[in-house]
Each structure stands twice: as structure tokens, then as C-alpha cells.
């Protein structure tokens, strides 16, 4: 009996094993990481009145995705199908020879004085529609819409949150008779829509957005002694900070927007202070005879990073606000200043000076993994994009004799210039606009 059962079991297991080994298994561990090939077609419309807006939207979208460094866009001259031929569905076979992976098409319908826009994103190789979205805008919001649609495509294809629907705050620098006229300005991330906030009569520096983008804080010489100003962009109301008899500068908002952190320098000592914007109460954060400045909050609001020369040369330190415990983060050779924490909370970007050169660098929030991603005669003041993937900073181009705004991916790739009408410095990237 035992023999019988044993043989049955052996047999059954054999049969089972054999049937299971029917399917071949293979592992692919090599491939290519590369930009996604994307074709953005001009959207279709049966109404001539929309033609202008359609072209403009197309230009902004192509520019956005191309400048992100993650997409390769194509000239519409190479397209196999026209917008009206694709108003229901593209002919996938026509797009395959071009090696295009993603195709964007759409429709624009004029409804009274508003535009109803439908966007479709197609996966050419899988022959599927992977995204469709509908928007409604008034004529002068086409720019904002272009950025929103760019973000939607970006997210669908890479998985990452977008960053195109945001603004850059900066200092516009004009040269007049060997004088620098510095004005605070705001623009779209592609350099369009510039609006000036101050008139340039007095030097204004280091502006920062509030998390809700309603206020900006900056330092100005208007009162003679450098003072911090709080400016409501919506209603134009301006307030300046407290009755400090001495220099206050380097203002930044806390992540919840309720506090302002800044530096106060008196008698050769520069320390970090926090003000509760609503109550007006001040708290001193550091208290020593050294230079402590350029403070920045972590996204959770629990820690700050700042620059201090307490150990000789300027280095970056972090402080846990609840305990006041300070930890040194940078150990390399040279000076480390202007620390900022990524909105993702994973990296700190900074300016480094070493051997006569300036670098923009990133490191982990614990100070490890330092990577220098750009360098020149003068690169300074990085600020993170809302998705933490891109940095903006300013560069003094001594050959051209002007400062300009540069963007770069945190990996060090895709260095680009954002063109401004005059020189520009002290950039600050806003959070995403409210949807």
C-alpha cells in the first residue's frame, strides 16, 4: 500500500512540475533611459477665430516639454496627419515610422466668448488613448491653460508632478550711468508675462514668495537701513517689519505661511529670528557673535538650514526648531551658503565657493552625497521648482557683462537660460498655482 501511495504522489508531482514549466521565463535588465518622443499637434477647430490661440498654445506647450529635458518634441512639418484628420482618432500606423511614442491632439470649440478645449494624449505604440481632459477658459487665460496642459501630459507620461504652472519672482537689474537699478519682478516660468512690483528707486533684494503666492517678502534700502517688507501682491498693500533700528534682511516664509524667518544684524553680529506674522511676536533663534544668515525651512516646518561661520569659513548647519539642536551638514573644502530645501524634502541645494570658482550643488538632507552640478565665475542662489526636479539660479556672465537666470535639472543635465529683457538675479520659484 505504501508503495502504491508513494508512486501515485511521485507521479502527480511530476505531472504538476512538468505542466508548470510550460511557460518560458526571461529577464530583461538592460534597456535605454531616454527622453520620450512626443508630437504635439495643433488642436483642431472648425472656427477660424480660434486659429491664433491654437498656434500660441502649441508653441508654449512644445517649449515647456522640450525645456524640461525629459521630452523630445518634433517640428509639425514632419507630422503625417493634419489636425482635422485626427479629430476623432489618429492613424497610429502613420506615426510609428517617426519613432514617436506619445501624440497629443485636441479640439477647440468657441462657446460665446469662452473656449472649450479637449485634449487627448495617445500612446502610439500601444495604440491607446492614455489621457483625455476638458478645460474651459476665457481668451486671455490661454497661457495658463498651456502650462496646465503641459503639466497634465508631463505627469501622465513620467509619473512625476508637473511644474509648468508656476511663477518666478526675481530682481530685474538695469544698468544706468554705472548705477544698478534693481526692481522686484514676477514672470511665468518661460519668461513671459513680466510684472514689476517695485519701481527701482531704492535697491531691493532677495524676494521670496509666500506659500500661497499672495505675498512676497523682500529686503529694501528704502528706509536707509536695510529693512524687510511684506507686500500683498493682490491689493498692493505693503508693510515693513517691526521697529528694528538695525539691518534686517534674508526673509523667507514658513511652509504654513504663518511665520517669517529672517536675519538681524547688529554690532557685527548676525543672528536668526522668527516673527509670527499675525501676532507680531518675535523669537530669537540663534544667539552668538558670528554671522548666521540665509535661513530656510524644511517642507515640514520642523527644521531649518542656515549658513554660519561659527567654525571659521561659512558652512551649512541644520537646526531642529523644537529642541534648538544644531548640526553641521557640510564638511567639504570651501564656503557653503544660501541653503534651500527641496519641496520633496529629500535634497538641499546650495552655493559653494572653492578655489576662486562658484558652484551650485545639491546634497542629501543629512549632508551626505554632495554633488556639484554647475560652475562658473559666479553661480549663486538656487531655488527649487515645485516638483523638486529643477533648480533655478543666477549667473554673472562676465563676458556679456550681465547677470542671467539659469535652470538646471537636479541631475546636472539640461542647463538652460530663461531670457529676460534686462539682467536678472535672486530668483525664487513659486509653488504651483491654485487649480
Amino acid at each position: 500500500m505504501k508503495k502504491l501511495y508513494l508512486s501515485i504522489i511521485t507521479l502527480c508531482s511530476l505531472i504538476f512540475n512538468i505542466s508548470h514549466s510550460e511557460t518560458l521565463e526571461i529577464s530583461i535588465t538592460e534597456g535605454e533611459v531616454r527622453k520620450t518622443n512626443i508630437a504635439i499637434s495643433e488642436f483642431y477647430s472648425s472656427n477660424d477665430k480660434t486659429a491664433d490661440i491654437i498656434k500660441k498654445i502649441n508653441v508654449v506647450m512644445n517649449n515647456n516639454l522640450m525645456s524640461s529635458g525629459l521630452f523630445q518634441t518634433f517640428d509639425k512639418q514632419a507630422f503625417m496627419q493634419k489636425p482635422n484628420e485626427m479629430r476623432f482618432r489618429p492613424k497610429f500606423a502613420d506615426w510609428r515610422p517617426l519613432n514617436i511614442e506619445i501624440l497629443v491632439t485636441g479640439k477647440v470649440i468657441l462657446v460665446d466668448d469662452k473656449f472649450k478645449i479637449e485634449m487627448y494624449v495617445w500612446d502610439i505604440i500601444r495604440q491607446k488613448q492614455i489621457l483625455s481632459k476638458r478645460y474651459m477658459i476665457s481668451g486671455n487665460s490661454w497661457r495658463r491653460l498651456s502650462h496646465l496642459m503641459s503639466d497634465d501630459i508631463y505627469t501622465r507620461v513620467t509619473g512625476e508632478t508637473g511644474y509648468f504652472d508656476s511663477r518666478i519672482l526675481f530682481v530685474s537689474e538695469q544698468r544706468k550711468n554705472n548705477h544698478r537699478i534693481k526692481k522686484i519682478a514676477i514672470m511665468d516660468l518661460d519668461g513671459a508675462n513680466i510684472k514689476y512690483i517695485t519701481n527701482g528707486r531704492y535697491i531691493a533684494l532677495t524676494p521670496r514668495f509666500s506659500p500661497d503666492r499672495e505675498h512676497i517678502a523682500y529686503m529694501s534700502y528704502k528706509k536707509g537701513i536695510p529693512s524687510i517688507y511684506l507686500h500683498n501682491i493682490r491689493n498692493g498693500q505693503v508693510k515693513f517689519l517691526g521697529k528694528f533700528k538695525n539691518m534686517t534682511y534674508a526673509p523667507r516664509f514658513s511652509p504654513d505661511g504663518k511665520k517669517l524667518i529672517f536675519s538681524y544684524a547688529v554690532s557685527g553680529r548676525s543672528n536668526i529670528w522668527v516673527m509670527n506674522i499675525i501676532s507680531g511676536k518675535f523669537t530669537q533663534i540663534t544667539n552668538n557673535t558670528y554671522i548666521d544668515t540665509s535661513p530656510a525651512y524644511s517642507p515640514d516646518g520642523k527644521n531649518i538650514v542656515f549658513t554660519s561661520n561659527r567654525n571659521g569659513s561659512p558652512q551649512i548647519y541644520s537646526m531642529e526648531l523644537s529642541s534648538g539642536k544644531v548640526k553641521r551638514l557640510t564638511i567639504g573644502d570651501g564656503s557653503y551658503t544660501t541653503p534651500v530645501v527641496s519641496p520633496r524634502g529629500d535634497l538641499i541645494a546650495f552655493t559653494k565657493q572653492s578655489n576662486g570658482k562658484f558652484y551650485i550643488g545639491v546634497m542629501n538632507v543629512d549632508g551626505t552625497g554632495e554633488r556639484l552640478i554647475s560652475n562658473s565665475f559666479l553661480d549663486e542662489g538656487p531655488s527649487f521648482s515645485p516638483n523638486g526636479r529643477t533648480l533655478i539660479f543666477f549667473r554673472n556672465d562676465i563676458e556679456l557683462g550681465k547677470t542671467k537666470l539659469m535652470t538646471i535639472d537636479i541631475t546636472g543635465y539640461n542647463l538652460r537660460e530663461i531670457k529676460t529683457p534686462y539682467g536678472a538675479s535672486d530668483p525664487n520659484w513659486s509653488s504651483l498655482n491654485k487649480r
Binding site: 508503495k3 508512486s7 529577464s27 538592460e30 531616454r34 520620450t36 511614442e101 492614455i130 507620461v157 509619473g159
Partner: protein, 268 residues
């Protein structure tokens, strides 16, 4: 009385299941001419090592033959299919006629087959079998067993593997092809943990007729995982990977493939 009826009933079911199973899994068992001599040699005490070398040689020769005579194989296939049908009916008839004697012999076949398998493994020997009863039996009825061994599933499996198995070279060609098609979109964050298993169904020309996500390392609700898994599907469906380069005569081995796309080594 009851006990014996029960035993015979169980054996009936076992036999039927056995043959049903065999038909589904081992049609090929009949395709290859049985290497009787080989197996007989293994059963004896002598020259196990020598036989191993022989097996290897024969394996190589077979592969060569397979590669050269594809057409011949196709013909053989057709023949063996016919043979299969004939043998199937024959076996069924046999089963119906001589149930009892067959069952006894079957059990003994199984033990022998087991032995054969054991003998192929380098460490085990025929002599090491503790069951003396079996040993004496095999020595006595060797000739009868030889014939029975012809139709045993295990023996067929051995010879089958030597002829039709997907080789490392086949896999290398396939891997080289697919890796050229796999384009991961730049921008996927923390991509090294995003592993996708794709199940593909192919027709004999190597063209994919069905590709679907079989498994992912994390949920597809994660946007990065979704993007990565879509890149895996695109790899299989792209022009450079359609059709896939696979040996047509081994189609049944690669009719269904599970492809694991693991980006870990690609990054950084």
C-alpha cells in the same frame, strides 16, 4: 472483497488520470526515437560515468542534427503526431483489457522510472537503493522492463529535453533583441524598484498577439509604476521586437513567455 474492489477502483482512476495527463503533457514523447540502449546501460551497475559522457555527446549531436534538419524535424513531427494518435488508442485498449496485470507492472515501472531518474543524478547509484525487493525484481525481468520503459514518461522526458529545450543561446538572442526595444521614459523617480512582469502570447512567426501586465513590484496606482509598466508593454509591441527572434521548431516552448523588466542595473 470490499477492500480489493476499492483498490482496483482507485487504480482504475489512477490509470485513467495517468493516461489523460500524459496525452496533454507529453505528445512529444513519441516524436523522438527511443534510446533504449542508453537506459538499459544506466540500469546496470557498470559505467554510469561513461554513460554520462555518452549522453552529453549524444545531446550535442542531437542539437546539431536539430539545427541542420529543420525540415526533417517537421516531417518527423507530423509522423509522430500520427504515431501519437495510434499509440493513444493502443494504450487505451490495453488499459481496458489487462487492467490488473498492467497496474502491477505499472507500479513497478514507476519505481524503475524513478530509479532511472535517480541514476542520472551524479551522486546516486542503482546499488544504493535500499529497497532490495525492487533490485531483485529489476535484475530478473530486465528484458520485459526494457519494453515497458520505452513508454514510460520519464524516459521520454529525458530524450525530449535533449532535443527541444530552449538553449542559453536562444535566450541570449531574445534578450539582446528586447533590450534594444526597451525605452524607459526619463523622469521616472526611484525607478530601480519598479519591476514589471509582462505575459506575452505569441504565434509561430514570433509575433505578439497578446501582451498584458502579469505582475508589478508595487501597485499600478503609483504613477511611476504605471509609467514604467507601460514602457515594458511598449517594448514588446514596438517594431524592432515584432516578430521576436525565436527558433520556430521550439514554438511550443515559447508560445507563452513571462518577461521580467528589471531596471535596477540600468540606473545610476
Amino acid at each position: 472483497m470490499k477492500k480489493s474492489i476499492l483498490i482496483s477502483l482507485v487504480m482504475h482512476i489512477v490509470v485513467v488520470l495517468f493516461f489523460v495527463g500524459i496525452n496533454f503533457i507529453y505528445p512529444k514523447k513519441i516524436e523522438v526515437p527511443p534510446r533504449v540502449i542508453l537506459d538499459v546501460a544506466i540500469i546496470t551497475d557498470k559505467g554510469i560515468k561513461a554513460k554520462k559522457a555518452d549522453i552529453k555527446k549524444q545531446k550535442k549531436q542531437k542539437i546539431k542534427a536539430v539545427k541542420k534538419n529543420i525540415k526533417h524535424k517537421k516531417i518527423v513531427k507530423k509522423k509522430t503526431v500520427k504515431k501519437k494518435i495510434i499509440k493513444k488508442t493502443k494504450l487505451k485498449l490495453n488499459a481496458q483489457k489487462k487492467i490488473k496485470s498492467k497496474t502491477i507492472k505499472q507500479t513497478k515501472n514507476k519505481t524503475i522510472s524513478k530509479k532511472v531518474l535517480k541514476d542520472l543524478k551524479p551522486k546516486k547509484t542503482v546499488v544504493s537503493d535500499s529497497n532490495t525487493k525492487k533490485n531483485t525484481f529489476t535484475k530478473k525481468k530486465e528484458s520485459k522492463i526494457i519494453n515497458k520503459v520505452k513508454y514510460s514518461p520519464n524516459k521520454s522526458k529525458i530524450t525530449q529535453d535533449l532535443n527541444q529545450k530552449i538553449t542559453k543561446d536562444d535566450l541570449l538572442i531574445l534578450r539582446n533583441q528586447i533590450k534594444q526595444c526597451w525605452k524607459v521614459p526619463a523622469g521616472i523617480t526611484n525607478a530601480s524598484n519598479l519591476i514589471t512582469k509582462v505575459k506575452v502570447e505569441l504565434i509561430p512567426t514570433g509575433k505578439v498577439i497578446n501582451a498584458e501586465i502579469y505582475q508589478t513590484s508595487i501597485s499600478l496606482s503609483n504613477h511611476f509604476m504605471k509609467a514604467m509598466s507601460e514602457s515594458a508593454l511598449r517594448a514588446i509591441l514596438s517594431d524592432l521586437c515584432n516578430p521576436l527572434k525565436l527558433p520556430k521548431e521550439k514554438y511550443k516552448q515559447w508560445k507563452n513567455i513571462i518577461i521580467t523588466f528589471d531596471p535596477k542595473q540600468m540606473l545610476n
